[in-house]
C-alpha cells in the first residue's frame, strides 16, 4: 500500500510544556523568604474587616458553575462532546471488531487442517505388490469388511483410503526390504472425505443425497473408529507436498518455493535499482525540473494499482521478450516494478535524515562526493533502507493480482526447478484453492492463509525490530 507521508513532524494535540527552567530543585538558591506579596494598599478579600461585598457576594450564584436548567446550551455542548468521543471509539472498535471476526473465522476453519486422519489396516507386503501398491490396501479392506459385495460398494469402500497410500507403502518397502512377506499394521492416510468425517464435518445429520459419504461409508468408518483404528496425526503433507487434485495430498510446498524464488528475483532486481536510483536522485542529480518530474513520477508509481503492473509484465516480459509464462523470473520482475517505488522512497527518506554535517566532514577531509556517499551516507542510511526493503518484501509476498496476470494460475504440483520453470505463489495458491468445492480444500485454504499471515507477521516484526534497534537519534 502506498505510504504517502503528509508531514514529517508530529505535533501533539496538546500543547507541549514550555522549556523547563533550570531549577536547582525546591527551595533552591538563596534563603529569601517568600513574602506575602500583596501590596499594603491592596485589601485582599479575606483580610477585609467588614463583611459587606464578599460575604454578600457568596450568596450570588457563581457564574462559572452552570446549572443544567440555566445553561441548556452548555449541556448540549457537553452531550455533543461525549457523543463525538463515542463515535471515535465506535469507529476503532468497528475496525478491530471486523479484524477479530476475520481472524477468528480463518483460524477456526483452518486449524483442523494441521491434522490429518490415518486409518490402521493390516497390510501384507507380497512380492507382487510392486505392480500395484494400492492392491494391498484393497485386499486389506476387503478382508476387513467381508460383507461388502459388488463393484460400486467395493469402490466406495476403497475410497476411504487416500491414493497417497501407494507412495507410503512404496517408501516403506524401499526403506525396509525385509518387510517382504510380512504382514504389518500400517497407519494409512485416509481420504479427504474420511478425514472430514473424523473431524466431524460430515455427519448423518445431513441427508444422504447432500453428503459426500454414503450411509454405508459412514457405517464402515464408525466401525473402524470404534476399533480404535482411526487417529489424527500432524499433517506433515501440508508442508511437504505441492498442489494436488486430492485435498489430503495437497500442500503448500510448491507455492512456498515459488514465492521464495519470485521474491528472490524481485529483490535482486528491485533492491540495487531502487537504492541506486534513490542515491542518484538524492545526492547527485541537480535540483531542476527534470528531477522534480522524476519525483512526481515515482510517487505516482507507488499508487498505481498492482494489476496494471501485471499487464505490463504480460505485455513486455512475456509478449515482447518472450520469457516463459508463469515463471518465477517473470513474476519476480513484475513485482520488482511494484516494489521499486517503495525502496526508492524509503532510501530517499533515510538519506535525507542524515545530517549534512557528516557528509561535509568527509568532504572537508578531501573525499570525493562519490566517496562520501559510498563510505558514509549509504552505511548510515542502511538501517532505514533495510527496513524499507523488508516492508517491500512483505508487500510483494501478499500480492496476487499481478501474478495472475502473468499466468501463475496453473496447477503446479512440483517444486519449481529453476526460475524459468512454471511456478505459483502462496497467495495465488490460496486463490486457486478457494475455488475448489471440497471441504478438505476449504480448511487447507484457511490454513494456508494462516501460514501467509504468519510469514508476513514475522517479516513485519523483523522490520519493526530492526527499525527500533538501529534507530539513530541525530541529536
Amino acid at each position: 500500500m502506498s505510504k504517502v507521508k503528509f508531514s514529517k513532524s508530529r505535533k501533539s494535540a496538546h500543547l507541549s510544556p514550555p522549556p523547563f527552567f533550570k531549577g536547582e530543585g525546591q527551595g533552591g538558591g538563596g534563603q529569601i523568604p517568600v513574602d506575602n506579596l500583596s501590596s499594603p494598599h491592596l485589601a485582599s478579600p479575606l483580610s477585609r474587616g467588614e463583611g459587606s461585598r464578599w460575604r454578600g457576594a457568596r450568596k450570588i450564584k457563581n457564574p462559572l458553575i452552570a446549572k443544567r436548567k440555566a445553561a441548556p446550551l452548555l449541556a448540549r455542548r457537553k452531550r455533543r462532546e461525549n457523543r463525538f468521543r463515542f463515535y471515535g471509539i465506535l469507529a476503532i472498535a468497528f475496525a478491530f471488531g471486523f479484524l477479530g471476526i476475520l481472524l477468528c473465522n480463518i483460524i477456526s476453519s483452518g486449524y483442523s487442517a494441521f491434522a490429518e486422519t490415518r486409518i490402521r489396516l493390516p497390510i501384507t507386503f507380497s512380492a507382487g505388490m510392486t505392480e500395484d501398491y494400492f492392491g494391498a490396501v484393497r485386499e486389506s479392506l476387503k478382508n476387513h469388511f467381508p460383507e461388502v459385495h459388488g463393484k460400486p460398494e467395493l469402490f466406495r469402500l476403497y475410497a476411504l483410503i487416500s491414493r497417497d497410500a501407494e507412495m507410503q507403502l512404496k517408501d516403506m518397502l524401499a526403506a525396509n526390504p525385509g518387510l517382504l512377506g510380512k504382514t504389518e499394521e500400517v497407519w494409512l492416510k485416509a481420504s479427504s472425505d474420511a478425514d472430514m468425517y473424523f473431524k466431524g464435518r460430515i455427519t448423518k445429520n445431513t441427508a444422504e443425497a447432500y453428503r459426500k459419504l454414503s450411509d454405508h461409508q459412514l457405517d464402515w468408518l464408525e466401525f473402524l473408529a470404534s476399533e480404535k483404528r482411526m487417529k489424527k496425526t500432524f499433517n506433515s503433507t501440508f508442508f511437504s507436498a505441492g498442489d494436488s487434485r486430492e485435498p489430503e495430498r495437497a500442500g503448500i510446498l510448491s507455492s512456498m518455493a515459488g514465492s521464495l524464488l519470485t521474491i528472490l528475483c524481485c529483490m535482486l532486481t528491485a533492491f540495487p535499482l531502487g537504492v541506486m536510483t534513490a542515491v542518484y536522485l538524492e545526492e547527485f542529480a541537480a535540483k531542476n525540473w527534470i528531477t522534480a518530474i522524476l519525483e512526481v513520477n515515482i510517487n505516482n508509481l507507488a499508487a498505481v494499482p498492482s494489476i496494471i503492473f501485471g499487464l505490463l509484465g504480460l505485455a513486455v516480459y512475456i509478449g515482447f521478450f518472450g520469457l516463459p509464462r508463469s515463471s518465477s523470473l517473470v513474476g519476480g520482475l513484475t513485482l520488482a516494478l511494484l516494489i521499486l517505488p517503495i525502496i526508492v522512497i524509503a532510501t530517499r527518506n533515510s538519506l535525507r535524515s542524515i545530517p549534512p554535517s557528516i557528509k561535509d566532514a568527509a568532504i572537508a577531509l578531501g573525499a570525493s562526493k562519490m566517496q562520501s556517499v559510498l563510505h558514509h551516507s549509504i552505511p548510515l542510511a542502511m538501517p532505514g533502507i533495510i527496513t524499507g526493503t523488508i516492508l517491500g518484501i512483505a508487500r510483494a509476498m501478499g500480492e496476487t493480482a499481478p501474478l495472475l496476470m502473468i499466468g501463475m494460475v496453473a496447477f503446479i504440483a512440483d517444486v519449481p526447478r529453476n526460475i524459468l520453470s512454471p511456478a505459483t505463489a502462496l497467495p495465488v495458491q490460496i486463490f486457486l484453492w478457494s475455488d475448489s468445492p471440497e471441504a478438505g480444500f476449504a480448511e487447507r485454504t484457511s490454513a494456508a492463509i494462516m501460514m501467509l499471515i504468519l510469514f508476513l507477521a514475522i517479516i513485519n516484526g523483523a522490520a519493526i525490530f530492526l527499525r527500533k534497534k538501529f534507530e539513530v537519534k541525530w541529536s
Partner: protein, 309 residues
C-alpha cells in the same frame, strides 16, 4: 600534492550506473503507458472507442464465438465501469467515516499509550493481503449477508456488490486513518490553543478548526482511497460477480474492471485475441483514471503541506 582529484574509472562507472538505474525507473512508467496503450490501440481498431466507452452490453464470450472482430457490440464497458463505481462507493461509505473518526480519536483524544497500541495494530490490519479479505468476503461474509437478507425478506445475491464493497471498505480504513492522522497532526497546535482559549470544547475545536484547516489534506486522502478502491482486484474477483449487470442496486451482483481483466486474461486463449486486447483497453481506462486521481490528490496535499511548513 594539491593536484585536482581525478575521478577514478570506478567512480565514473558508478556515476553512469546511477544515472542508468534512474533511467530505468522512468522507463517503467513510460513502458507501462506504452505497452498498455499499444495493445489497447489494437483493440480499438477492432472495437470503436465510442462503442467501448458508451456501450451498454458487455459479454466478451459471445463476441468470440460470433466473429473474431468483436464488432457485434458486446464490448460496451458502461456496466463494468458502473459496477466498479458502485462497489467503490460502498467501500468509501464504510471507510471514510470510520477512518476519519478513528484518526480523530487517536490524534485528539487517545492517551499516548493508547496511541502506541492502536497505531501498530492498525498497521497489522493494513498488512493483511487482499486475497485474505477476498476469501473472507466470498466464503463467510457474502453467504452471511444473503442469509440475513432472506430472514428480512430482501433478496441479496450470493455475490453481492454490498459484500465486496463492505469488505473492501474495511481494508481501506487503515489507509484513510493513517493519512488523516498525518494531515491533522500537521495543523499547528497554536490553532487548537486559540480555540480552546476561547472556551471551545474539544469536539468543537476539532470540527470547527482542525478539520476545516486539514480539509485539503483529507480530500487528498479520500481521492487516494478512491484510486485504491478502483484498482483493487482480489476482493472483487473472489466476492463480486463476473457477469456484467447494469444496476445501482447494491444487493445485486455486478462486475468490475479489475475482475473482468482477470477473467479475460486467465482463460486459455492466445495472446492477441480480442478478449485479451479488451483487457488492455480496460487496463488503460483504469490506469488513466487512477493516474488522474493520484496526480490531483498529490498536488492538493503538496499545496496543503506548504501552507503549514
Amino acid at each position: 600534492m594539491f593536484s585536482p582529484h581525478h575521478k577514478s574509472h570506478f567512480e565514473k562507472l558508478l556515476h553512469i550506473l546511477l544515472i542508468f538505474s534512474t533511467g530505468i525507473s522512468i522507463l517503467i512508467t513510460v513502458s507501462i503507458i506504452a505497452s498498455v496503450l499499444f495493445e489497447a490501440l489494437k483493440f480499438f481498431k477492432l472495437v470503436p472507442l465510442a462503442d467501448f466507452l458508451f456501450g451498454f452490453k458487455w459479454s466478451p464470450q459471445i463476441a468470440l464465438t460470433a466473429d473474431q472482430g468483436g464488432s457485434s457490440g458486446a464490448f460496451g464497458a458502461v456496466p463494468v465501469f458502473l459496477g466498479t463505481l458502485l462497489i467503490t462507493t460502498i467501500a468509501l461509505i464504510v471507510a471514510v467515516p470510520a477512518g476519519l473518526f478513528s484518526a480523530i480519536y487517536i490524534s485528539e483524544y487517545a492517551s499516548s499509550r493508547m496511541r502506541g497500541i492502536i497505531k501498530p495494530a492498525l498497521e497489522i490490519l493494513a498488512g493483511i493481503p487482499s486475497v485474505v479479505y477476498g476469501y473472507f468476503a466470498a466464503v463467510a461474509f457474502a453467504p452471511f449477508l444473503k442469509h440475513m437478507g432472506e430472514r428480512i425478506g430482501i433478496p441479496i445475491a450470493a455475490e453481492s456488490a454490498f459484500a465486496a464493497g463492505f469488505v473492501m471498505g474495511i481494508m481501506i480504513i487503515p489507509f484513510i486513518m493513517s493519512l488523516s492522522d498525518d494531515v491533522m497532526n500537521a495543523v499547528p497546535a497554536s490553532l487548537r490553543a486559540a480555540s480552546l482559549g476561547l472556551g471551545a470544547t474539544h469536539s468543537e475545536t476539532v470540527v470547527k478548526v482542525v478539520i476545516p484547516a486539514a480539509l485539503p489534506g483529507i480530500m487528498g486522502a479520500v481521492l487516494l482511497a478512491i484510486s485504491r478502491g478502483l484498482g483493487e482486484t482480489m476482493i472483487v474477483v473472489m466476492a463480486a460477480g463476473l457477469t456484467a449487470n447494469l444496476t445501482l442496486n447494491p444487493f445485486s451482483s455486478v462486475t468490475t474492471v479489475t475482475a473482468q481483466m482477470v477473467t479475460l486474461l486467465t482463460g486459455d486463449q492466445e495472446f492477441g485475441s480480442s478478449k485479451t486486447l479488451a483487457a488492455f483497453a480496460l487496463g488503460l481506462s483504469l490506469f488513466l483514471t487512477t493516474l488522474a486521481l493520484n496526480v490531483i490528490a498529490l498536488m492538493i496535499v503538496k499545496k496543503y503541506r506548504e501552507q503549514y511548513e
